[in-house]
C-alpha cells in the first residue's frame, strides 16, 4: 500500500529503540525466574494431558505433579529433572501414567539426589525434549500441508481475514456455530473463554458444555473444534483458522496445548494480564516469554490485546497508549524470535460515534497503525463500548469498521456484532456480520490507491499527534523503567505493583541447576529452525 500519512520515520525508530530499552530488564527476570504455569506447560509438552478425579471434579495431572514439586520444596530446579528421573525408571509408561505414578508416591521422585545425578539423565532429557519438539513441528507441518492443499484466506492481498467469535459455553454448540460461520464466509474462528477461566490456576479438563460468556479452553475442546474446522476446511476448500487465549494464569500451558492441537492464532499479550486481569507482573512477564517460544516454534500468530485500552479509556484520547503497548509487545515477541508477519498487534475502532468527523480519526489511527507496522497482520477490533441495543444502528457501526479495515489493509478483522450490547453472538448475528464485511470489502476495495490524503491535513495531523504522544509516553516509561511505569499507572491508567496481583505465589527463582530444555533449546535453536523451515515451507 502506498503511504498516505507523513509520520516521522525517526520518531518511529526512536519509539522502537525506547521500547527495546524498556523491555530489556525483563530479560534478566526471565533468566532468573520461572512459574508454575511454565512447569505445567513443560509437562504438557512431554505429553501429560489427563486429569485426576478429585471430589468429583477433574484436576489436571500436570497440576498435581507440580503441586508435589512445590510441596517437596524443589520447584527451583524445575519439574524437568524429576520428570526425566521418573521417565528413566518407567520407560514404557505413557506420559499420563507416568504422572499418575509420580503422584502416587511423590517422595520417590522429588528428592535432591535426582538433581545431583541429573547429568546422567541429560541425554534422555534431550532425547525426550527433541521428540516433543519434533512432534510440534510435525503438527506445524500438518497445518502447512493443509494450507497448501486448500485456499489460504491470508493470501488474499489487502483483504483482512474475517475473524468470528463463538461463545455458547457448550463446545458442541460452538462447533455448530463455528461451522456455520465458516460456511457463511468466516476465515478464523475464535472460541471465547468462560468469564471465570483467566484467573484459574489450572486448565479445566475434557469436553465442556457449561460456560458463561464463553466456553472453557480445554485440550479436548481444542481438539474437537480443530477437527470440526478441518472437516469444514476440506468441505469448503479454504483453510479455516482456530483461535484461543494464551492469557491469564495459564498462559504458557495454553500455548503448549494450542501447539499440540494445531491452533492457528493465540490471544497473547505481554502486558494484558497485568493491566486488565490484575495478574502479577512477574508472573505474566515470564509466562509470556515461554509461551512465545512455543508459539514461534509452532508458527502460530499472536493477537495482542491493545484493543482493551480503548474499551476502558476514551479511544479518541488514548491512541498513544495502544501504540506504545504495540511497540513493547513487538519487542517481547522479537525476543522470542517471532517474525513480524506473525505479530497480530491489536487495536480497535472504539471512538465515540458522536464525535464530529469520527470516521476521520478512526481512519487516521488505523492507517497510522498500518504504516508503522507494515508487515504485521494487524488485528482490528470492532466497536463494542458504544454499541447500542438498537441492533439496526449497531450493525452500521460495524459497516464503517469494515470499510476502514479494508481501506487500511488490516490483517485480521474481528467482525463486530449488531447484538454486541445484548448477548454473545447468535448464529444469525454472525451471519449478518459476514454479509456486512463481504459487502463492504467488495465495494470499497483498494480505494486508497485512488487517492492521496492531504499532507498535514486534519487526518494526517491526528495520526502525527498520536505518534507524538506515544513518543512522549515511551520516553517517560524509558525513564521510569517498565515496572515503575506500571506501578505509576502510565499504561491504561491502571496501577499494579511488582509483587501484587494474582498468581504471584506461582513465580519462583530458578536455582542455577534449574533445567528446562524447551526454554534452552528453543532460545538457542529457533532462529535456525525457522530458517530451515522457511525455505522448506516456501519451496514445497
Amino acid at each position: 500500500m502506498k503511504k498516505q500519512l507523513n509520520l516521522s520515520k525517526s520518531k518511529i525508530q526512536d519509539c522502537r529503540k525506547m521500547a527495546k530499552k524498556i523491555s530489556a530488564p525483563v530479560f534478566n527476570l526471565i533468566a532468573e525466574k520461572s512459574s508454575w504455569s511454565i512447569e505445567r506447560a513443560t509437562l504438557r509438552l512431554y505429553g501429560v494431558d489427563d486429569a485426576l478425579k478429585q471430589s468429583g471434579l477433574d484436576y489436571p495431572l500436570c497440576n498435581a505433579v507440580v503441586d508435589e514439586l512445590r510441596k517437596s520444596k524443589m520447584e527451583m530446579y524445575g519439574v524437568t529433572p524429576f520428570w526425566m528421573y521418573a521417565r528413566s525408571k518407567h520407560t514404557s509408561l505413557s506420559a499420563n501414567d507416568l504422572a499418575r505414578v509420580i503422584c502416587e508416591k511423590p517422595s520417590d521422585y522429588f528428592h535432591y539426589q535426582v538433581i545431583e545425578n541429573y547429568p546422567k539423565l541429560a541425554k534422555l532429557a534431550e532425547k525426550e525434549t527433541r521428540e516433543a519438539i519434533n512432534h510440534l513441528l510435525k503438527v506445524r507441518d500438518d497445518r502447512y500441508k493443509l494450507k497448501r492443499k486448500l485456499q489460504d484466506p491470508a493470501q488474499v492481498k489487502n483483504r483482512p481475514m474475517l475473524y468470528l467469535i463463538v461463545a455458547t459455553g457448550n463446545i458442541y454448540d460452538d462447533v455448530e456455530q463455528a461451522k456455520s460461520a465458516a460456511r457463511s464466509g468466516g476465515d478464523v474462528i475464535a472460541v471465547i473463554r468462560s468469564t471465570a477461566q483467566s484467573l484459574l490456576d489450572y486448565v479445566p479438563h475434557g469436553a465442556t458444555t457449561e460456560g458463561f460468556g464463553g466456553t472453557y479452553a480445554t485440550q479436548k475442546n481444542f481438539q474437537i473444534m480443530r477437527q470440526a474446522l478441518d472437516e469444514v476446511s476440506l468441505e469448503l476448500g479454504r483453510y479455516i483458522r482456530l483461535v484461543n487465549y494464551s492469557s491469564g494464569l495459564c498462559m504458557s500451558e495454553i500455548a503448549a496445548m494450542a501447539a499440540q492441537e494445531r491452533l492457528d492464532f493465540l490471544l497473547n499479550d505481554a502486558m494484558y494480564g497485568i493491566l486488565f486481569r490484575d495478574i502479577n507482573m512477574q508472573r505474566t512477564l515470564v509466562d509470556q516469554h515461554f509461551s512465545r517460544l512455543v508459539i514461534t516454534l509452532s508458527d502460530i500468530y499472536i493477537n495482542t490485546g491493545e484493543d482493551n485500552y480503548l474499551t476502558t479509556a476514551d479511544a479518541y484520547e488514548n491512541g498513544h497508549q495502544v501504540l506504545a503497548s504495540q511497540f513493547i509487545n513487538e519487542c517481547f515477541a522479537e525476543n522470542a524470535h517471532m517474525n513480524k508477519d506473525r505479530m497480530g498487534l491489536g487495536h480497535a475502532f472504539e471512538m465515540n460515534p458522536k464525535i464530529p468527523n469520527v470516521f476521520h480519526w478512526e481512519l487516521a489511527r488505523a492507517l497510522m497503525t498500518r504504516e508503522i507496522f507494515p508487515e504485521h497482520p494487524l488485528k482490528y477490533m470492532p466497536s463494542t463500548k458504544y454499541k447500542s441495543t438498537d441492533i439496526f444502528y449497531s450493525h452500521l457501526m460495524d459497516a464503517v469498521f469494515n470499510l476502514i479495515g479494508r481501506m487500511t489493509g488490516q490483517g485480521i478483522q474481528l467482525l463486530g456484532m449488531a447484538t454486541e450490547a445484548i448477548h454473545t453472538p447468535y448464529m444469525m448475528d454472525r451471519y449478518m456480520s459476514v454479509v456486512n464485511a463481504t459487502y463492504m470489502f467488495n465495494g470499497i476495495g483498494d480505494i486508497m490507491e485512488e487517492m492521496q490524503l492531504k499532507k498535514n491535513g486534519k487526518i494526517d495531523k491526528y495520526a502525527q499527534k498520536v505518534l507524538d504522544d506515544t513518543h512522549k509516553l515511551l520516553k517517560s516509561m524509558e525513564k521510569n523503567g517498565l515496572y515503575k511505569s506500571i506501578e505509576k499507572g502510565e499504561l491504561a491508567h491502571v496501577k499494579r505493583t511488582i509483587d501484587g496481583g494474582k498468581g504471584y505465589e506461582g513465580v519462583f527463582l530458578k536455582d542455577k541447576k534449574y533445567v528446562n530444555l524447551f526454554a534452552s533449546i528453543l532460545t538457542k535453536e529457533l532462529p535456525q529452525i525457522k530458517k530451515k523451515l522457511k525455505s522448506k515451507e516456501k519451496v514445497r
Binding site: T389, D390, I391, M427
Partner: protein, 248 residues
C-alpha cells in the same frame, strides 16, 4: 421419523427469536412493560426488551429477544410448491415440437394499476433472468407481453383474440392486499368467460406471490422471487400435457 425443531440462537433448543415493533405510546417504563406483554402474548418466554427508542412524541420502537416455546416436527411439514424439474430451453422446445406439435401462445401482463414490469419482463424478454433466456427466445413459444397497467378485462379480451394457451400475470404492489383483490377479480372474470379455444393455463408471479396463494385463489400455479424462465416454461408444458392427456 420425527425431527423436532425449534428456533435457535445460542444453544440448541433455546428457542431464541428477535422481534421488533412500534407501539403508539411515548417512551416510558410503562411502554417497556407493554412491549414485554406484547412479547408474552407471542408465545414467548423470558422476553428481554433490550431496546426502546423514541420516534418522537407518541411512538416508540422496541427490540426484543426471547425464547419461542413452539416445537415443530419438521418431518410433518408439507410445503405447497410447484413440483417441476426444470428443463433447458432446448429440451422445452423439443418437447413442444415433438409432443404438442404446435407452438404455444403465451400472453403476459402486469395487471391493474401495477407498473412493475421488471418481473414479468425477466420471464418473458429475450434476455431472461439469472442466465436463463426468456420465453421470447424459445422457438416454440409465441409470446405476447402486454406490459404494465393492463386492466383485467383487457387482458381477457386480448387472450381470447390471441388464442392464449397460457396467461401470465405479474403482481408486485401488495399494499392493502391490492394484489389479492386484483387477482380475485381476474379469476371471477376468467371463470365467467367462454374460452373458444380452451381454457388457458393460468400463472401468477411476483415477489410476494407463492404457489400456495396462487392455488388458493384459483390459479394453476404461482411463482415467487428468483423464478427463472425455464422453470415457467417447463411448468407450462407439463401442465399442457396433463390437460391434454399427453404422455411424456
Amino acid at each position: 421419523m420425527t425431527k423436532m425443531i425449534k428456533t435457535y440462537g445460542d444453544r440448541h433448543g433455546d428457542g431464541k427469536v428477535q422481534v421488533s415493533f412500534t407501539l403508539p405510546v411515548d417512551k416510558s417504563e410503562e411502554a417497556k412493560e407493554a412491549a414485554r406483554q406484547m412479547a408474552l402474548s407471542m408465545n414467548l418466554e423470558d422476553p428481554m426488551v433490550v431496546s426502546m427508542e423514541s420516534m418522537g412524541k407518541g411512538y416508540s420502537m422496541f427490540v426484543v429477544y426471547a425464547r419461542l416455546k413452539t416445537e415443530i416436527d419438521f418431518d410433518t411439514i408439507k410445503a405447497i410448491k410447484v413440483e417441476v424439474n426444470a428443463l433447458s430451453m432446448y429440451d422445452c422446445d423439443a418437447l413442444i415440437k415433438n409432443k404438442i406439435k404446435k407452438k404455444l401462445t403465451i400472453v403476459g401482463a402486469c395487471t391493474g394499476y401495477d407498473a412493475h414490469t421488471v418481473g414479468i419482463d425477466a420471464i418473458l424478454n429475450m434476455k431472461g433472468y439469472n442466465g436463463e433466456y426468456g420465453l421470447e427466445r424459445y422457438g416454440q413459444l409465441n409470446v405476447h407481453n402486454l406490459g404494465a397497467q393492463v386492466l383485467n378485462k383487457d387482458l381477457i379480451e386480448r387472450s381470447i383474440k390471441l388464442k392464449a394457451d397460457a396467461i401470465l400475470i405479474s403482481k408486485v404492489v401488495t399494499q392493502q392486499d391490492i394484489h389479492i383483490r386484483d387477482l380475485t377479480d381476474f379469476i371471477r372474470l376468467f371463470e365467467e368467460t367462454k374460452w373458444p379455444h380452451g381454457r388457458p393455463i393460468l400463472l401468477v408471479g411476483g415477489p410476494r406471490v407463492n404457489h400456495a396463494l396462487a392455488v388458493e385463489l384459483g390459479y394453476d400455479a404461482g411463482f415467487g422471487p428468483g423464478t427463472t424462465p425455464n422453470v415457467v416454461a417447463t411448468y407450462i408444458i407439463k401442465k399442457y400435457f396433463d390437460n391434454h392427456g399427453i404422455k411424456e
